[in-house]
């Protein structure tokens, strides 16, 4: 086959797979969030629509679809309509640099399982993660509603303050890996630290992992840091004036951002698509069972890598839900306190520690 056509097809296929998986996980997450909330709280949760209530998200979508599509009279229409679009596009774009496997071999072509293997992967992700503030501000400001504006102010203050500690935590890991390239990071992490324990970022620098983890909760506006919303004070916050499908877009964007943040956390701190314990054995078993050649081994490896990444991300997503239904929310001053007085200085100290450790190791 003509290599140009092959590459184009491969890229389109990768885009479709990424989009399909990400957007396909959203309804499952919505279902799990609501059903899981039930289990956490000792009640069954939504169980009427379809088996185990699995069709509940579908019912929600139909509901959103038939709602009146309404724009407030004094809103700035352009920005008002743009906000949900940015909210949805930013995390989806950021996902494109996350490697979800090493490579597969089709015929005599090698297909790398990453949409964009760019050298500045981390910068790219940070840029798009930073873009997530914009929909909050735009939505709040453009809907011309006091509650929305307050929610937007709170949201942007929160996201900006946590982005600093998040960036510093990431920076300390960059010192270890010595690269901005996500793929090389994953490869770096697959080397052995102590016997069977891989040198995952979280083992090398658990504190940075913790800070990063806490920060992504704030970044994605999830509990216990869901200050931009607040039923008792500012109603729905920045998306108060959004109804019907525009609200659904915000809703989906929240979950896409969660998926993106989890994937980033896994890639930087938990070995990315690196094998989970036991996967190597599985691979050897499969090789022996089917008598695979080199090509086959590589393809099965890629599949297992994808499964590893997916299960790690799934676990982080579970923690998102778990935390949401376990912890009460922070007050706004406590949130700022934690962000500026604890996480920020501690991650600075951690950065120095990482620098010294790296210097010592070399």
């Amino acid at each position: 086959m003509d290599p140009v056509i092959f590459t184009t097809t491969a890229i389109i296929a990768k885009i479709l797979v990424l989009l399909g998986v990400t957007l396909g996980v959203v309804p499952i997450m919505v279902w799990f969030e609501r059903r899981g909330a039930g289990w956490f709280q000792g009640r069954p949760g939504p169980n009427r629509v379809g088996p185990f209530g699995l069709l509940q998200p579908l019912a929600d979508v139909i509901k959103f679809f038939f709602k009146e599509d309404w724009v407030p009279a004094n809103a700035n229409k352009f920005y008002y309509l743009m906000a949900p679009v940015i909210a949805l596009v930013a995390p989806l774009a950021a996902i494109s640099v996350i490697p979800f496997g090493s490579h597969i071999i089709i015929g005599d072509h090698v297909v790398h399982l990453q949409l964009a293997n760019i050298d500045s992967g981390v910068i790219f992700i940070l840029a798009f993660a930073g873009l997530e503030v914009y929909p909050v501000i735009l939505a709040g400001w453009a809907s011309n509603n006091k509650y929305s504006t307050l929610g937007a102010l709170r949201g942007s203050a929160q996201v900006v303050s946590y982005e600093i500690s998040m960036g510093l935590a990431l920076l300390s890991m960059l010192l270890f890996y010595g690269t901005f390239n996500m793929n090389e990071m994953v490869t770096w992490q697959s080397q052995s630290l102590l016997g069977p324990i891989p040198s995952w970022g979280a083992f090398l620098n658990p504190f940075a992992a913790l800070v990063f983890w806490i920060s992504i909760f704030a970044e994605t506006n999830r509990l216990p840091f869901d200050l931009p919303e607040g039923e008792s004070e500012i109603v729905a916050g920045y998306h108060l004036e959004y109804g019907a499908f525009k609200f659904a877009a915000f809703f989906m964007a929240e979950y896409c951002a969660m998926i993106m943040a989890s994937a980033l956390l896994v890639t930087v701190f938990f070995g990315g698509y690196g094998f989970l314990p036991g996967m190597q054995m599985l691979l050897e078993m499969a090789t022996a069972q089917f008598g695979l050649a080199e090509v086959g081994i590589q393809n099965v490896t890629a599949l297992l890598q994808f499964i590893s990444l997916a299960s790690k991300v799934a676990f982080i997503m579970f923690v998102f839900v778990w935390v949401r239904w376990s912890l009460p929310r922070f007050r706004f001053d406590q949130l700022m306190d934690l962000g500026w007085k604890w996480l920020f200085p501690l991650s600075l100290v951690n950065l120095v520690y990482s620098a010294l450790l790296t210097w010592y190791m070399n």
Partner: protein, 166 residues
């Protein structure tokens, strides 16, 4: 001025949050698995399962009737008078003689008897006031209606058969 500062002594572990957060989350994880695998629920599946309420529960009203489906009410207006919500509206008329089959002479009967359930506070005073044990409160608590008019129970509706009490 209106703020009262309650100072508490926090231990270091409490100040760092993390230990207690993890502890609390583990408790909640236990709950999660019990909900998931043991279906341990504190709620009930309402339309299929129903909670057993007290025998003295005061729900939708009814008017008791005798064997011939004649209401026991004599339109004495005691319930209308006692009702704190003023939601009972009775119009009285003379009762034809042939309706009194047992020889008990009830001279009056309600021509119309309306209770506005949207105003009623289910205090049960009407039941206590009634000399004929005519008006009673059943244990039926499912009173949702689609329009306000449906919430006004007329004589016909009040004379419905109610099981379990009467």
């Amino acid at each position: 001025m209106g703020t009262i500062n309650v100072s508490r002594k926090y231990t270091l572990a409490q100040k760092i949050y993390l230990y207690y957060i993890i502890k609390g989350m583990l408790i909640n994880l236990k709950r999660f698995f019990r909900g998931l695998f043991l279906q341990e629920n504190w709620t009930i599946q309402y339309p299929e399962q129903r909670r057993e309420y007290s025998q003295r529960f005061r729900g939708a009203h009814f008017i008791s009737v005798d064997k011939n489906k004649t209401e026991n009410c004599t339109a004495c207006f005691l319930c209308e008078t006692v009702c704190p919500a003023e939601c009972i509206h009775i119009i009285a008329e003379e009762r034809p003689e042939d309706e009194n089959t047992y020889g008990v002479w009830k001279e009056k009967k309600p021509a119309s008897f309306d209770i506005d359930l949207l105003r009623c506070c289910f205090c049960g005073f009407c039941e206590e006031a009634c000399p004929k044990d005519a008006i009673k409160l059943s244990r039926d608590y499912e009173m949702s209606v689609a329009t306000r008019d449906e919430a006004i129970f007329d004589l016909n509706h009040l004379k419905r058969e109610v099981k379990g009490r009467g």
